[in-house]
Amino acid sequence: MMAGRSIRPLRHATFTAGLTITVLLLATAATSLVYTPRDPLEMSITGRLQGPSAANPLGTDQFGRDLLSRVMRGAVTSILVGVIAVGIGMGVGVTLGMLSGYFGGWLDEAFMRVMDAVQGFPAILSALLMSAVFRPSLTISMIAIGVAFLPVFARLTRGSFLELRDREFVQAARALGAGDAALIGRHILPNTLSPLIVQATISFPVAILAEAALSYLGLGTQPPHPSWGLMLKEAQAFLSLNPWYAIFPGTAIALTVLGLNLLGDGLRDLLDPKLAS
């Protein structure tokens, strides 16, 4: 990809900063699964809505639960939703895009109209609709966010397939007797991966923001499970009593998204030879 020029990713300041924050996020989430300072669900009647202190470094919520422990565990929810939502969007989107770009014709036309329509459904709209029909839940929020990613993955894949399907190496493989499945899976798809990886990296923080917003509206993670968005929803009722309650979970979201965005920007610079030169 970058013949004759060595890349040193860690020299790239944006990439390094993003990577550092992301590694810290993953470490926090992993740690929280085996250790949190307190039980994130343990309530305490006497210590409600406290500001930061030695016992509770980030303070406590309206049930006296330790905010640091809850913010730590909230990272797991965010990562989980991010990974699954992007997985849904990428899995289905890439499949549709491959079929569209490879076969073309009326199939392509139909798929693209559906993708135009899906573009009219940001995560919030699908979540509203599905929550009205079923009950609001974490699963619905993941599906709603994933659906919102379909068009971008489908278009990206379709574009690459349109560009590659008549190239010589594909024609050569076809002449040697490769079937459609082999051409798609073994010859074309591997060549479309780097923009897809970049897109997945860019989508991940968007998914985390969407999860936070949906949980804030009560359409995502349900209580008592810790989710940054849900914590902010609860914090709003106590803004004047304990402002810290509204500050720490929000900071966690912003830092996470910042780190992932920097990582995505850095990765794009490093993987895209057109921009790097």
Binding site: R113, V114, D116, A117, V118, Q119, G120, F121, P122, I124, L125, L128, L129, M130, S131, A132, V133, F134, P136, P205, L209, A212, A213, Y216, L217, G218, L219, G229, L232, A235, Q236, L239, S240, P243, A246, I247, G250, I253, A254, L255, V257, L258, N261, L262
Partner: protein
């Protein structure tokens, strides 16, 4: 040109058809029995049967779809179960909050983002550029609803300059209404500001590298005229495109911000309808907003073709 527009309009009709099918499938087909969702599982079989008949659920699904779409096209989105008024009139009355909020956010976004992006581009790789880019990184990372909470914390709880939410309607005067929408509009526009500032910066940077800009400079044009007459005019194409797409995203985002500031708009209407099992309202709002976003996207596409002749000949 006419052929280009006609093609886009034909695609728009097909896309709107897909939108309506998607909404219909989620509401009428996926759940099995919408009557039970509205009435709850403990409803008596007779009552459920009456509702099914009233909603036309006893007929074949394609017939149900055609009837539903036919009514929607005539502006009939059904009746709200909770308020017992037509859904369409509820949507129209709530639009008087959601629409001004979206437009104000778009205005805040464009007024800040375009100068900020131009400044960054003209100060490429200097402190002004870095400052603008740091600001936009923060804007992209901060969730809108949290920005709203922070604005309430600062301007309502601490300083007491603004009310912390609520909206008394336009009958109380234009200024109080605009003031009630200002903080939500700023919080809503923040993310899109950051996106648009980055778009503007890269669009202007790209044009500044063009030969004709060098030519303009070489023949001695003033820097001001190079910037406004030669650069900005050409950079406007990607800027307008991105801003147009953002309009749809702002519309969706306003649903969240209405909740933060307790504004009686479309989003709060739909959210309230979920707990009240008022399926026709949710269905109507989602169909309306999704169609609006699709129409905006196509309008942007057409505008893009008008602004840039290279696109429509492709």
């Amino acid at each position: 040109m006419r052929r280009y527009i006609l093609r886009r309009v034909a695609a728009l009709v097909a896309t709107l058809f897909c939108v309506s099918v998607l909404v219909f499938v989620v509401v009428r087909v996926l759940p099995g029995d919408p009557a039970l969702i509205i009435m709850g599982t403990e409803a008596s079989p007779e009552a459920a049967a009456r509702l099914r008949e009233a909603m036309g659920l006893d007929r074949p699904i394609p017939v149900q779809y055609l009837e539903w779409v036919g009514q929607a096209l005539r502006g009939d989105l059904g009746r709200s179960i909770q308020y017992d008024v037509p859904v369409a009139s509820l949507i129209v009355s709530r639009l008087s909050v959601s629409l001004p909020l979206t437009l104000m956010a778009a205005l805040v976004m464009a007024l800040l983002a375009i100068p900020c992006g131009v400044f960054a581009a003209t100060h490429h790789r200097r402190w002004g550029d870095y400052l603008a880019m740091v600001l936009s990184q923060i804007g992209i990372a901060v969730p809108g609803f949290w920005a709203g909470l922070l604005l309430i914390l600062l301007f309502s709880v601490r300083l007491g300059w603004f009310q912390s939410g609520g909206f008394d309607g336009w009958s109380q005067g234009v200024w109080p209404a605009l003031k009630a929408l200002l903080l939500p509009a700023v919080a809503l526009g923040l993310f899109q500001f950051a996106v648009l500032a980055r778009t503007t910066r890269s669009a202007v940077l790209e044009v500044l590298r063009e030969e004709y800009v060098k030519t303009a400079r070489a023949k001695g044009a003033a820097e001001r005229s190079v910037l406004f007459r030669h650069t900005l005019r050409n950079a406007m194409i990607p800027i307008v495109t991105v801003a147009g797409i953002q309009l749809g995203q702002l519309m969706a985002g306003s649903i969240v911000l209405e909740s933060v500031f307790y504004l009686p708009g479309l989003g709060r209407l739909a959210l309230g309808a979920i707990s009240a099992r008022d399926l026709p309202v949710v269905q109507g709002v989602v169909l309306f907003v999704a169609s609006l976003i699709v129409v905006i996207n196509v309008a942007v596409d057409v505008l893009y073709g008008l602004l840039d002749p290279r696109i429509r000949y492709n």
